[in-house]
């Protein structure tokens, strides 16, 4: 896998989730971005891992947070002129805002025409469990994966 000049390398993605990471980032391939996906390669830390390289795109913080929900081990490398200028681990914020939908149909965040953003507090990172700030509904890692990746 060759080095990229400008862009983002997402490393240490749990094996098999690279395509889901791309989906969450909204990258379908039709944008014309040059994207490299490596799956199930050996990793000292994880045993096996996936890697995604995206040329000419630097990830915004809210996108990084989204990835943390399904790839908590991921590292983000920002590459400029072939050099890694910034390397950060994805870090779940204590509150997840406006990314996930509350599954409870009578949660106030599901009420049409209210200027309200769904908000979840992180109950635990491992295993990942979130709780809706408004209605108390608890989301498990499986619920989150299902919502962000689909069944």
């Amino acid at each position: 896998m060759r080095k990229i000049r400008e862009g983002t390398v997402i490393d240490h993605i749990p094996a098999g989730r690279a395509l889901a990471v791309l989906k969450i980032l909204g990258i379908s391939g039709e944008e014309g971005l040059r994207v490299a996906v490596v799956m199930n390669v050996e990793s000292r830390k994880l045993g096996k891992k996936d890697i995604v390289k995206i040329e000419n795109r630097h990830l915004r913080p809210e996108e990084v947070n989204k990835i943390a929900l399904i790839a908590p081990t991921a590292t983000i490398n920002i590459v400029k002129d072939y050099d890694v200028v910034e390397k950060k681990r994805v870090e779940l914020p204590s509150v997840i805002e406006n990314i996930l939908r509350c599954p409870n149909p009578t949660c106030i965040t599901r009420k049409p025409r209210e200027p309200i953003k769904p908000r979840f507090r992180v109950l635990s990172k491992n295993p990942l469990r979130l709780q809706c700030v408004y209605c108390g509904t608890i989301l498990t890692a499986e619920d989150i994966v299902e919502q962000l990746i689909g069944g």
Binding site: T106, C107, I108, K111, Q131, Y134, C135, T137, I138
Partner: protein
């Protein structure tokens, strides 16, 4: 630093969204105020502590006791009330959203009491409004002022909330009074809590989690008969037909338990007290009403002094 604040200050201008927003000592302070209010009510000497205040009663869902006891509490203390019950009569019927309705009430009144069928509506209203918002029931989630008057009633009956064995019976899944009562117990030291319900109506995960976090000894069971003899307090709730997503599920569980005089006389300790947030359907038979077990009418009456105390503390009018 909030622990060092005197409780009279910590109550000032507070939103009341969940019973878990409060500490044990704050609740005990509320109970002191409620005891004082109750005595003044009995003596007919309630001072107009809230003269000149306007309290909005925004009941988007039907209510009898909660609305009338808030209204009575406010009026006994000299406050005026404005408000509505049901959505048909107000602009919501024309398509107004909750945020706009709350902003309007916030402009008219000094505090807003809200009941709404959506979980989280009271927290949302509290975020929108500048004045204090009091949750009078948000969907199946919270009913903190009910829990306050429930615990006050237990304290009045037994002299303490700690050390008792509680049974919470009925709809623990959709019943907000039951959930709030269970959550309220996590602030105290009950000896044991039995959660008695059909499997479909078990307490929600987030409620059970709080019991575990608080280190409360609890057990879920389907059989009231098995645990009745151990109980000091039996808290009975109605099956919340209106909150069942699927009516056929309601049909499966309706009438699945019933507390009768005969059952109590056969199995209960003589000092057991039966509580119920009311209204009841058929879960407590009428022949229990005139027994020594029945505490639910006392409980309902306590709604007024406890809500008087709550309003007075929020407005900084009692210390």
């Amino acid at each position: 630093m909030s622990e060092t604040k005197p409780d009279s200050i910590s109550w000032l201008s507070r939103d009341v969204v969940s019973i878990l927003d409060f500490s044990r000592s704050e609740l005990e302070y509320l109970f002191d105020a409620a005891t004082w209010m109750k005595r003044r009510l009995r003596e007919g000497s309630v001072p107009r502590l809230l003269g000149g205040k306007v309290i909005a009663l925004a009941f988007f869902e039907p209510s009898t006791r909660t609305r009338l006891s808030f209204e009575t509490a406010a009026k006994r203390l000299g406050a005026e009330t404005i408000g509505f019950t049901g959505e048909e009569a107000i602009s919501v019927a024309k398509g107004e959203n909750l945020a706009d309705t709350i902003r309007m009430l916030d402009g008219y009144a000094d505090a807003i009491v809200i009941r709404h069928r959506y979980e989280g509506a009271a927290l949302y209203a509290a975020e929108v409004a500048e004045h204090p918002v009091i949750n009078a029931g948000d969907g199946k989630q919270h009913h903190p002022t009910q829990a306050m008057l429930d615990l006050f009633t237990v304290k009045e009956l037994f002299g303490a909330i700690d050390g008792l064995v509680y049974g919470v019976l009925g709809d623990l899944r959709y019943g907000r009074a039951a959930s709030s009562f269970i959550l309220a117990l996590t602030l105290f030291k009950p000896r044991r809590v039995y959660l008695v319900s059909p499997p479909l109506l078990r307490a929600r995960d987030e409620v059970l989690e709080k019991l575990r976090e608080a280190g409360i000894s609890y057990e879920e069971t389907e059989s009231l008969e098995e645990v009745l003899g151990e109980l000091d307090v039996l808290y009975v709730t109605r099956i919340q037909r209106e909150r069942f997503p699927d009516p056929s599920e309601y049909e499966k569980v309706k009438g699945s338990y019933r507390v009768t005089r005969r059952l109590l006389e056969e199995r209960a300790k003589p000092e057991l007290k039966v509580m119920h947030p009311l209204p009841r359907v058929d879960e407590i038979s009428f022949d229990v009403d005139d027994t020594r077990y029945a505490a639910y009418f006392l409980q309902a009456r306590n709604g007024v002094p406890v809500r008087m105390a709550l309003l007075a503390l929020i407005f900084g009018a009692w210390r």
